[in-house]
Subunit: 683 residues, 2 copies
């Protein structure tokens, strides 16, 4: 490393590079394509550019980061940073100058360009049978002749009118009871969980109750805020998983736990705080912008979702009476503060499979204090509750046809089967398909290339970025403001590079064909060949946006793991081919079916039979929230899917190596005929 440069790594994006010593953290962020808010133009007066300098030896990145690696604390920072936060390493990005290697965490609030997490709820059919149901109860006031206690008084009516027997009551709900009965003039609305336990009592008649379905991924967290009465999705909110700073993938986080005292606690606290933040957001969204929240006891009966216009629900946290939540297995254990160590080594045994009903308060989740979290059951060490969510949303076990369901997140989870049998497995795709570990990879945020089209003749690149409707060919260079490439762009990229003959089936650049092509060159620093996707003039970071040979290898590793997994599953089931392929996950939402096939993510299939099912894991959580029978179905699923440990399959290594290649021969991929030119496919 040169004496006058320092390595700076930004988390959670993972962007990194050497920058001249002495520049500010904000200047470094610009050089490395990380967007940090700086409303005041770095005058140290807006306090928006808050960052945290991490302390420690980060072997993964090969650096030692320390707070002394930035310039000393400035008086102006005191206005924006409390002593507690200062203690934790918080600085203003414009005030702190880089003096040596650092790892910088950029908190969500400081990130410019809110990530587009497109995990919108799909329309799926769910029967209405929520775990928490409301009952309106009117009782006679007590008298000397009939002085029975308040709870027994309402239980009598609940049994007589609704057939509810042997109800218990949570201590927090019990504390509301006597007051609510008297405030409501002996009429109350009782929220009953699972026909078993009273979890809330409100005076008078209340018509609505609310719940959250939460899908916690390794990288993103999405929450659907639902009206439990109408089943409507009132709001959708999402955020980066705050644990990203401890490592991109699950193995990194397990390692963090094993190597860091209090590491598990820290990761658990962070995701809990994140979920509480999402809860705050959905509650704030039920108020008109700028209006101060105030406590009201009942939802406005005519209220509608905030996006629909004038009526606001004006809810409080107590109005959230149920949560259904799903995770992959490692996230599940970490969230619950269960030692995830044994998930990281053979035979990858989880602590528990079955679903859990946990009082939200026991985890510090701030909703109605008597309410429960339903934690979806998990299948195996590497196939978690998220996959159970996918299953109960897609219900392959109710069909005769063989469905292959691919859920591509930071890890790939595969299910194959029909009503007679289901098998599952996981494959280590790594985060490449989500834009990580790619030179100009980035999150799906404004400025990210999301679609690419390459002219097979000229090999000129056309592309579209998030935040701008017009493609490159219909824009002036300066209008594109491109910064990098996100997950869906990466898929397009590999397919287009292959289809147009820029790379060959092995993934290597077709140097012969590219000779003298203006976009193809060798990087003088790394001596690696690279292909320019966008010129510096089109970018907002003043650099050419390129894809390198190494990037292509990363993508190949991911797609190879996925393809090999699919192939082995099909073989295990004794099938020749699958009837249907469903692609789930944030990735699946944007996927171009044809290009997924071109890329060879999975075995050949009729293009019409490839379907994108969006965030099916989240849909499954929503199904469990709104229909209690889906919870039993989830438990059944988690124990009736046979888990296949792919790495134990005899031919796995060979299959994997073979699968690194791009599809070739029309024997292997008949459906690619006419899409990929014959001379490429059969080269």
């Amino acid at each position: 490393m040169s004496e006058d440069k320092a390595m700076v790594i930004f988390q959670p994006s993972g962007r990194r590079g050497k920058v001249p010593k002495g520049i500010s953290v904000i200047e470094a962020s610009r050089l490395l394509g990380v967007d940090i808010e700086t409303l005041c133009g770095e005058k140290r007066v807006c306090g928006k550019c808050l960052v945290r300098i991490e302390e420690g030896q980060f072997e993964k990145f090969g650096i030692q980061s320390a707070r002394t690696h930035v310039s000393p604390w400035q008086a102006e920072e005191e206005k924006f940073i409390t002593p507690q936060r200062r203690e934790k390493g918080y600085r203003l990005g414009c005030a702190a100058r880089v003096e040596d290697d650092i790892l910088v965490f950029v908190p969500e609030a400081s990130r410019a360009g809110k990530q587009l997490v497109s995990k919108a709820a799909r329309d799926i059919y769910i029967e209405h049978n929520p775990s928490v149901q409301l009952y309106f109860v009117q009782v006679d006031p007590p008298s000397f002749e009939e002085p029975t206690g308040d709870f027994e008084r309402i239980c009598r009516v609940l049994e007589r009118d609704f057939g509810l027997k042997n109800l218990s009551i949570d201590i927090f709900a019990l504390r509301q009871l006597s007051g609510a009965l008297r405030d409501g003039l002996w009429a109350v609305t009782v929220s009953v969980w699972n026909d078993r336990e009273v979890v809330r009592i409100r005076p008078g008649k209340a018509d609505r109750s609310y719940g959250l379905a939460i899908d916690v991924g390794t990288t993103t967290v999405a929450a659907y805020f639902c009206d439990l009465t109408s089943m409507e999705v009132v709001d959708t909110v999402s955020m980066m998983n705050p644990q990203c700073k401890y490592g991109e993938d699950v193995m990194a986080r397990i390692t963090y736990h094993m190597s860091t005292p209090q590491g598990l606690q820290r990761m658990s606290d962070d995701i809990l705080a994140g979920i509480n933040e999402l809860i705050d957001r959905v509650i704030e969204n039920t108020f008109p912008p700028g209006k101060k929240k105030k406590r009201i006891d009942q939802a406005d009966e005519t209220g509608q979702g905030p996006e629909e216009g004038k009526t606001y629900l004006r809810l409080t946290r107590e109005d959230i009476e149920d949560i259904a939540i799903g995770f992959n297995t490692a996230m599940h254990h970490i969230f619950l503060s269960i030692n995830p160590e044994y998930l990281g080594s053979a035979p990858f045994t989880p602590a528990i499979h079955r679903s859990l009903d946990i009082k939200a308060r026991d985890l510090g989740i701030k909703i109605n204090p008597s309410s429960y979290l339903f934690v979806l059951p998990i299948e195996a060490g590497f196939v978690g509750a998220d996959n159970v969510g996918v299953l109960i949303a897609e219900e392959p076990y109710k069909h005769d046809e063989n469905q292959l369901i691919i859920d591509i997140g930071t890890n790939g989870e595969l299910v194959l089967g029909n009503r007679h049998k289901m098998i599952s497995s996981s494959c280590a795709t790594g985060p490449a398909l989500e834009g990580a570990q790619i030179t100009f990879g980035m999150r799906a945020a404004p400025g990210a290339i999301e679609r690419i089209d390459i002219d097979p003749q000229t090999r000129e690149v056309d592309y579209k970025v998030i935040g701008r409707d017009a493609w490159r060919n219909f824009s002036k260079p300066g209008e594109m403001k491109v910064k990098g490439i996100c997950g869906s762009g990466i898929l397009d990229l590999l397919a287009e590079l292959y289809r147009t003959g820029i790379i060959v089936k092995s993934g290597a650049f077709n140097k012969k064909a590219l000779e003298d092509h203006p976009r193809f060159r060798t990087n003088p620093d790394t001596e690696q060949p690279e292909f320019v996707l966008a010129w510096a003039a089109e970018s907002s970071i003043g650099q050419d946006i390129v894809v390198t040979q190494k990037d292509i290898r990363q993508i190949q590793l991911a797609k190879g793991a996925l393809y090999a997994g699919c192939k082995l599953m099909v073989k295990r089931m004794g099938l020749e081919k699958v009837d249907k392929v469903k692609i789930a996950g944030a990735f699946g939402t944007h996927v171009d079916r044809t290009k997924a096939l071109v890329m060879g993510l999975f075995p050949d299939c009729e293009i019409a039979m490839i379907e994108s099912v969006g965030n099916a894991a989240g849909d499954g959580c929503r199904a469990a929230l709104l229909n209690v029978e889906k919870r039993a179905e989830a438990n059944w699923c988690s124990r009736h899917v046979e888990y296949i440990e792919l790495t134990l399959e005899e031919t796995f290594q060979q299959d994997f190596v073979e699968a690194l290649e791009l599809p070739h021969t029309t024997d292997q991929f008949p459906h690619l005929k006419g899409i990929v030119p014959d001379e490429i496919l059969n080269q």
Copy 2:
């Protein structure tokens, strides 16, 4: 010093500190941890909280104290403070407010001494069937062929070997699971609650588990620490109910809640802290004196109670895996932070009758974190779980004979019945029988007269005080150090005064007979007749200890309420007489059966059929702790005892007035013949 605070120093304890100006001296005493008697709950009616504001410059303490540093004299204080004492700076602590720095002297008589609580466990028969049971489980380690999760792995064995199905596991126990299985080389001891939920996992084989039965009275709290395996009572600890400082009886505490913001929270916090203190005490007692505690995972198998010798159990709080706890209804509500307001006004409706299973952690009770408290069910607003405890300990519903069970605490609770029918009621005995509202009444603490014998000829008084074995007649005056008279002494007192003709059946002093008796006189201040029990020379407070006509009236009111209640119950059941009388409660422990009959606490009964059953409420808690079926029995009891509101009975007023008289005529009390002289009984 800030302008809004004043320094308050209490003597003789020397406790001091700054308190907000404007609070009463009593409130200041609480803040500074000084215990002053406040029997009436600061209503300025008991006069117990007498203090003296000192005048002068106290250089030692760096303050200037003056009588003008407290708020002006109140009319209500005149009743309790003579002009002479007023001159000397005496004030009621509840009436005088701190307005500037003061030095306060607390006279011995106002100090709340440490009460002797004798609530030892009796031998009662209890079947062994605790709610928490231990199971030793050995499982195969997981493999790739059989990678099932840890919990499902142990559940399989629990079902196969012990028939336990559909077990759930508490999140805190789940966090122990994976580590314990591996530490125990795939063998663990599982604690299962109610055949339903796993609440603890320990590596290897553990033979013991422990529980607490707690009886929370208005005045005292007693806890039996039990070995759930052997049923042995390992230790008994007790303390004053720390809520006493908010008022002596339940009504005073309900009033405190209604008149003081955060009052309920404060009282609840105090009793919870008290219970945690008892838990600490039992745990500390399992270690040799002076030895530092250290964490061990298993009880020493050969361990015995600390009092038995050399082997100590060396337990931790986590070794307490169950609690059964009983209260009267108001204490129940306050403990659980349930608004007790509606218990204080007609028709005295409780929030709930049935028993509650509450996670100890939800209340901040520090035992094994997954474990439950079983809260005994309550009968009615004034007949609580304590009485249910008495019932399941005494089981009158299993006998043909009609038993009258009297539990005299701060409130009197009565049950009458047999296997066919049971009725209950409560009567406002008030705290007189416990020493409150009596001029020299005090708690059962050293210096309190607990036994009295009066010579029928000379009417000379012999007595015994707590803390000294020798009676007055065998001691020198200065050795007695008497300070007052406690509950059991009061019972003796009234019986002896009557038997020896000092008072007549109406309760009035027999002035004719007492003429010229050196112990009988008229108080010059109050102009009330009084009888000297102990001379100033025998006392540690430098005053004659007397019983006044007003004191006798107070005792009569208490005994009248009790007698009238019993009489009405007998009538309600259509009986002539009862077959057996059982006296429970701390009071019952010390009671002289004959004197209770002489005093006329309850209708006439053969003396052999009067039985003291000690702390039956606590025994009931212990039964519920050690036998889960007793819990169901308790719930059955709580709903099958018919509660009679005595004050609504037509003849109650008249019965009550009649019952103020002492037993007279051998018609009414044939069993008093020979005990009380005929000329008195039939005067």
